[in-house]
Each structure stands twice: as C-alpha cells, then as structure tokens.
C-alpha cells in the first residue's frame, strides 16, 4: 500500500502536467477551431442611400438604381458578364453553351443540377417562366424591363428539361449582353406558383451566390452565402444592407464602425472621410449623363433653332467646376469610354459651347420671348436644383426668357412640359446600352410625342446602329446618328456625375465597369475583406 501511495504521490505531479498539457491541447483545439471560424466569418454591412423607388421588392424585373445594388448578389443569369474585362467577355452561368441555330433563334444548354435558394433544382420551365413573363408583359410591373431591354425578344421555347430556345422578333446583335442583364435573371417557378407574385418579390428565390435571409421593406436586407451555389462560393458569410438615406448619418455610421461600406457620397461631402487611416475613399465618374429632355413638339420648344441655342449656351465646364468640384466630366458626345474598342470613339465631338452662336440662333429662330419653362423635381438627382438655376441664368444671357418650375412628380400627360431633367445611364457596355434604353421608339420620350427627330435619315440610321450585325456599319451609323441628334437638340447633355464609395480600409473592391451604374459586386473575386 505504502508503495502504491508513493507511486500515486510520485505520479501525481506527472499526471497534473499531463492533464494540463492535455487540457491545453484541447483548449488550443477549441480556440483554433472556433477562432478560425470567427476569423473567417466575414460580414459586410452596407449603408445604402436608397432602397427602392417606392415599390419595394428584389425580383428581377425591378430596373431602378436602388434595387440594382442588391439584385446582383441574389440573382443569376443564363450568361454572366465578366465585370471588368475590356473588351467585354461573357461567361457561362446557368447556361453552359449557346449558339444561334437560326437568325432569330438561339439554343441554350442549361447547367445540370443548379439549385435555387429554396433547394429546388432549376430546369427549362424555370427559365421559360422567368423570361416569358417579362418579355410578354404579363403584368404592368414588367413594362419597364420589357421596354428598356427586351422589346425585341419574343419567347422562350422549352425543348427539353435542360435545353431552351430564345426566340427574338428579328435578329438581335445584342442578344448576349441583354441576356446577361439582371432583369434576365432566373427565378424559381415553383416558388412563384406557391407564394404568389407579391411575396416572391419581397422574398425572392434566385440562384445567385447569396440567398435572402430577411427583407424588411424600406429598412434592411440580410443576405447569407448560398452554399449550394453552382459556381465559386461567395467570399462573404453575410451581407447586411441598411437603408441610411441621410448622408451625414451614412458617413458617421462608417466612421463609427456601424457599417463597413457606403456609397452615394457627393464631392462636397468627401471632406470628413479624407486623410483617415481607417477609411478608404473610391471616387467614380459614372457612365451616366444628367440630361435635359426638351419637348420637340411643344409650341415653344418645338422651334429647332431655339433648342440648338439652349444646347450651345450651356457652359458645362463651369457647371462641372462649380457644382462637382471639377470631378465630374464634360461630355464630348453621347458615349462612354466603358463601351471599349471599337465602338467607343474618343475623337468624336458633338457637344459644344458657343454662346455667341446661341445668341444668333435665338434671333434667327423668331423666338418671341414666350416663357420657356424648365420643370424639375427638387431631389431628382444630385445638385439638380442648383444646375437648373445656373442653366436658367446661362439661357437668360443669350436672350431666352426662362421660368423655373419645381414639382413633386411629372404628370403622365407630358403635353405641358417643355424641358425636364432625366438621366441616361449606361445599362450595358454598348452604345445602345445608353441610347436605345432611352431614345428608342419603345422609350417614353418617343411614345409620348416628346422626342420626334425630324431628319429623314434618322430611322434608317437608328435601324443600322441598333440592329446591324456589321460592327463597322453600326459604328458609322451611330456616329451619324449622334451628329443628327446634336442638330435636332431634342436632348441636352449636361455632364457625367461623380460620386464616391467609402469603405473600411481593409476592404478591397473596385467599381465594375461592365455593369450599370450603382451595381454592387460582392461575388467571388470581386471583393476582399481583410479582417
């Protein structure tokens, strides 16, 4: 017994050391496992200026700048665009291959085993449902997407469960770029049938890299990585989008560590974020024009020489310097460098400033001094009211009697409106991505008799610029079209606006040049979060 006791006594310290080492190992393992998990748990909290245009929802048919910020993470298209490539490249996504089998028919093979966020498996019926409803305008809500992108698309034909045929009304040279817009995202038909349009809009089930966890209309959206995503898994575990409309609150929320990423910072609000070690500022000149649409049919502004005078008398350099602190861009023509070669033409200049010629045109126009009413919405876009006041002064100087009219909403009957502000963003990287989406016959200015070019060459040139499959012919037609448009002056380009994003300094992110303005890209390879 004594020996046993001795043994025990002798062994105790040894046991203690062993136990301690063992416990430390276990602890180390636990800390290691959970610590790693904590270190890898990456959440991005995004503060957004706008959440919707008054109609909350995240379904693919929404085309607003607000909703596009969130849709890109949720929805997946048959074809995806490489976000930064020059020239534009397309990547197989829900479709693995595609080919034109007739001039108006494209056959697409679908990826097998793609899961939607609700766990159901995608098939051709889902594709037909998602696209046909918009292309065939089964609801007025789909009008925006249909008119802007898909007016030349007819239907999706189901060949078998993994093959579809895309029918267009006429040969469509832009078929890939249009099918890679998020409005052509694929949603679950089964889910839509089960919950109905309204609920499916507020809690969409897509096939993108993040799935919706919760959506509180007007306030907050929470996304989570979708682990059954067909492609490379999303880099973030969770993204929380919070609606913070007030710019001061948004900036404070970033500096205070309440959010990690904010946008829509105009130049005059960058000051508090400059020279901070914990915050990174990223400025961008958007591929978008602030524009004045001028009625070509109103008795006053129907006078072409008067419209030309208005166009020539705007000192855009001064506006960019005064309003945008020199950070915006004065346009040379209705085009953006994001189109890339060969369709972007840096040498083309159609927009000019010539107040003396403007004065002469006013005289030649026979203008009788009748009030020219510039109607604007006070908060339609950044510095919009200030720009209207400055431009009114410029027009007064060349002899135009301008009246400013501020209203809350534009009426459906545009007969009384002479000039109104608008914006022309590049929806997709092609001249038609900013032109056809605004000035085609499907757009409101044409349909409401606002934009009616008189030049007899217009229709033929538009036809070639939009539908020709010969790139040289498209380029030549587009050049001529822009020169005629300048002569017609049915719209007046003001400038390309500048805004900043701000984020935690350990975040690496860049603005996707092949997406429409405001689209946020948080997929694999598109964002890195340090800690």
């Amino acid at each position: 017994m004594g020996a046993k006791k001795m043994y025990r006594k002798r062994m105790r310290p040894c046991n203690l050391v062993r136990s301690t080492v063992f416990a430390l190992m276990i602890l180390g393992l636990i800390v290691g496992v959970f610590g790693t998990a904590v270190a890898q748990a990456k959440e991005l909290r995004v503060g957004l200026q706008s959440f919707d245009d008054g109609t909350p929802g995240l379904d693919t048919y929404h085309t607003t700048n607000a909703q596009t910020q969130m849709q890109n993470s949720i929805h997946e298209c048959l074809i995806e665009r490489e976000p930064y490539s020059q020239p534009l490249k397309f990547m197989p996504a829900l479709a693995t291959s595609w080919k034109m089998i007739q001039p108006t028919v494209m056959e697409m093979k679908l990826r097998k085993g793609v899961k939607f966020h609700d766990g159901s498996t995608m098939n051709a019926e889902d594709v037909a449902f998602s696209l046909n409803r918009i292309w065939q305008r089964t609801r007025p809500a789909y009008d925006g997407a249909q008119g802007r992108f898909f007016y030349n698309f007819d239907k999706v034909e189901v060949v078998d469960s993994l093959t579809v045929r895309i029918h267009t009304k006429r040969p469509e040279p832009l078929i890939e770029v249009l099918l890679s817009d998020k409005c052509a995202g694929i949603v679950s038909k089964e889910y839509h049938d089960k919950v109905g349009f309204e609920k499916a809009d507020l809690a969409p089930v897509g096939a993108g890299p993040y799935k919706v966890v919760s959506f509180k209309a007007r306030h907050q959206l929470v996304l989570e990585r979708f682990n059954d995503y067909w492609g490379e898994k999303a880099p973030l575990d969770k993204i929380t989008f919070t609606h913070i409309p007030e710019i001061s609150s948004r900036i404070t929320a970033l500096v205070n560590g309440e959010v990690d990423f904010i946008g829509n910072i105009p130049p005059d609000q960058e000051g508090p974020l400059q020279n901070r070690k914990d915050v990174k500022l990223l400025g961008v000149v958007w591929p978008m024009f602030h524009v004045y649409a001028v009625s070509m049919t109103h008795p006053v502004t129907g006078n072409k020489k008067l419209r030309q005078a208005m166009n020539l008398s705007i000192n855009r350099e001064l506006l960019v310097k005064g309003l945008w602190q020199g950070k915006g861009l004065v346009p040379k023509a209705h085009q953006f460098k994001e189109y890339g070669a060969p369709l972007y033409m840096p040498e083309l200049v159609t927009v000019k400033y010539d107040p003396e010629k403007a004065k002469q045109l006013v005289k030649e126009s026979g203008y009788n001094g009748a009030p020219v009413v510039l109607t604007f919405l006070p908060h339609y876009y950044t510095y919009g009211s200030l720009a209207a006041q400055a431009i009114a002064e410029m027009w007064q100087k060349v002899g135009i009697n301008v009246k400013l009219q501020s209203i809350d909403n534009f009426p459906s009957d545009m007969k009384e409106i002479m000039i109104r502000p608008w914006s022309n963003p590049m929806y997709y990287p092609d001249p038609m991505g900013a032109y056809d989406t605004h000035w085609s016959k499907a757009g409101w200015p044409y349909r409401r008799n606002f934009f009616k070019p008189e030049n007899p060459k217009w229709d033929a040139l538009y036809e070639k610029a939009r539908f020709s499959t010969d790139v040289k012919e498209r380029k030549q037609s587009y050049t001529e079209l822009l020169q005629i448009a300048q002569d017609e002056s049915g719209y007046i380009l003001l400038y390309q606006p500048y805004e900043s994003f701000a984020m935690r300094s350990d975040i690496e992110w860049k603005v996707p040049t092949n997406m429409r303005p405001y689209a946020l890209t948080f997929r694999a390879g598109q964002i890195k979060v340090g800690k």
Partner: protein
C-alpha cells in the same frame, strides 16, 4: 360624468370622420396614382384595367362610400404599390415608432416638469435662468439640427453612441433626446408659467398663512392647481411626437412608419396614406379624450360644470 364622457366621445368620433373625409378628398386632388407608379406611361387599355382593379374608375363619392363600407368590415385597403394589406404594413413598422415616441415622451415629462418647477421657483437665480435658456434652445432649434449635431458629436467625433438603426438600447439614446428636446422645452415653459400663475393666487397666501410647510404648499397646493394646462400640453405633445418622429426616423434610419408615410404621400399610395392619417387622427383624438377625462379627475369643478 357619463354624459360628459358620452358627449366628448361623440365629438371625438365626428373629428375622426371629418379627418377621413378631408384626407380622402385631398389625396384624390393630388392626381392619378398611376402617373407616379408608371412614370413611363401605360397603354390606355392597361391603365383602364388598373383603374378598375384599384376602384379608381368610379366617381369620388362612390369610392368614398366603398371605402367607408370596407372600413366597417375591417378591410383597410391594399397598398397600390406593394399590393399588401396596409394594416399589415403599418403593423410591421409601428412598434419601432411607438417605442421611440414612448421613450421620448417619458424623457420629456421626467425632465420637463422639474425644469419648469425650477424655472418658476428659482426664477430670479442663475439656475432658473439656465434651465429656461436650455428650454428655449430646445424649443427653438429644429429637430434635424439637433439630430445632426448629436450625430456629429457623439457619433462622428467621440464614437460613443451609434447613429443608425434600433438594434440595442444604445441606439435609442440620440433619437430619443432629439425627439424629446422640443417636448420637454414646451412642457418646462408651460409648467413654469402655470406654476407662476398659481403661486400668485390668494389661496397660496392662505396656505402659507396656515403655517403649512413650503414643500406641502408647493406640491399639494401649487402643483396640483397648475397641472391642468400642463396636462393639455402633454396631450398635444403626443401628436407632435408622431409628427417629429418622421424627421427623426429619417436622420437616424429608424425603422418606423415615417418612411412608409412619407413614401405614401410622395407616391400617391392612397390606401396607405388614408390609413396612416386616420390612425394618426385617432391617436390624437383618443389622447385628447383621455386628457378631457383627466381634467375631470384633477379638477372636480369641471365635473360639476359638465
């Protein structure tokens, strides 16, 4: 007493009905909601189909009769934009607004009445002047200035308090103070003037002449008699709280009904707008009705007169 309550209740119902008529007509004067919902325009057949679907193809009196009938059946309407029952939409967000309003109301009473008392009882001292100067500032400075100043100081520079959302108790501090500032200033000013008025009455001299302690004179005789105008103000403050919360919610990204309400006005979502205004009116009327009853409890003379 019952007759008094019945009379006031009938008047309250009439007020709500008048508000209902006013908002119903005013909403329709703003124009066609489809113009805002579909700014790019609609083909005439689709427009007509939607007008029929929303019941907007009928004359305004017909629309009103249908709306009132639906109200009595517990159907408060469907949002034109969200296509959801408006009652559900308000139910989702009203909680946050009520919590904020409740905290602000409590804060304004807790600070406002003592400040008013100090202002009256120490009116010739530095403390009295300081208190009333603070009250004056709170009354004069608009909500959004207070809000942005607080955000700048306690959020941007000091990093002490969060400035957006309502996730934790810390999130309540800045919006509550902002929303309460105007109220407690108002309550303090009215408490002060009412108390000063009562302090100069004959019965106060009598109370002191009877040899009562100053504490008893102030709290039992003066304060009780000065409460009626203060209670009236408290009732009115409830209305102001809901109004003010719309701006405060925007600045602090507070997930309440503010955005829903403003959005309904801007986007001509008639059912959402009507329901919001009626609820708001009902709250104000209910509070005033309760204030009327409180009068009776505080001042028995009103009961006798009634």
């Amino acid at each position: 007493m019952l007759k008094f309550i019945g009379w006031r209740f009938g008047r309250a119902l009439l007020t709500v009905f008048a508000v209902l008529v006013a908002v119903f007509l005013a909403a329709r004067l703003t124009g066609n909601p489809l113009d805002v919902m579909y700014p790019d325009g609609l083909p005439p057949d689709q427009e007509q189909r939607l007008l029929v679907q929303y019941g907007l193809d009928k004359t305004v009196p017909e629309q009103f009769v249908n709306y009132v009938r639906d109200l009595f059946q517990g159907n408060f309407g469907i949002s034109l934009r969200e296509k959801r029952p408006v009652a559900d939409m308000y139910a989702e967000d009203i909680g946050a607004t009520l919590k904020l309003a409740g905290c602000s109301f409590l804060l304004s009473v807790i600070f406002g009445i003592p400040m008013g008392m100090i202002g009256a009882l120490k009116r010739r001292t530095g403390a009295g002047r300081l208190v009333m100067s603070v009250a004056f500032l709170g009354y004069a400075v608009p909500h959004f200035i207070i809000a942005l100043s607080l955000i700048l100081i306690f959020g941007f520079y000091l990093h002490w308090l969060p400035s957006t959302g309502n996730a934790t108790i810390w999130h309540y501090i800045l919006p509550t103070i902002t929303l309460a500032a105007h109220r407690f200033a108002s309550i303090a000013r009215h408490t002060r003037s009412s108390l000063l008025d009562v302090l100069s009455q004959d019965f106060m001299r009598t109370a002191r002449a009877k040899g009562l302690e100053e504490r008893v004179v102030i709290f039992k005789h003066a304060m009780r008699n000065s409460l009626i105008p203060v209670v009236t103000i408290l009732g009115l403050q409830i209305a102001g709280l809901i109004n003010g919360s719309i701006i405060v919610e925007t600045v602090f990204s507070w997930p309440g009904i503010g955005r829903l309400f403003v959005g309904a006005v801007m986007k001509r979502d008639f059912p959402v707008l009507q329901f919001g205004v009626i609820c708001f009116a009902a709250i104000v009327v209910l509070v005033n009705f309760m204030v009327d009853i409180l009068y009776v409890i505080i001042d028995p003379r009103i009961r006798t007169e009634a």
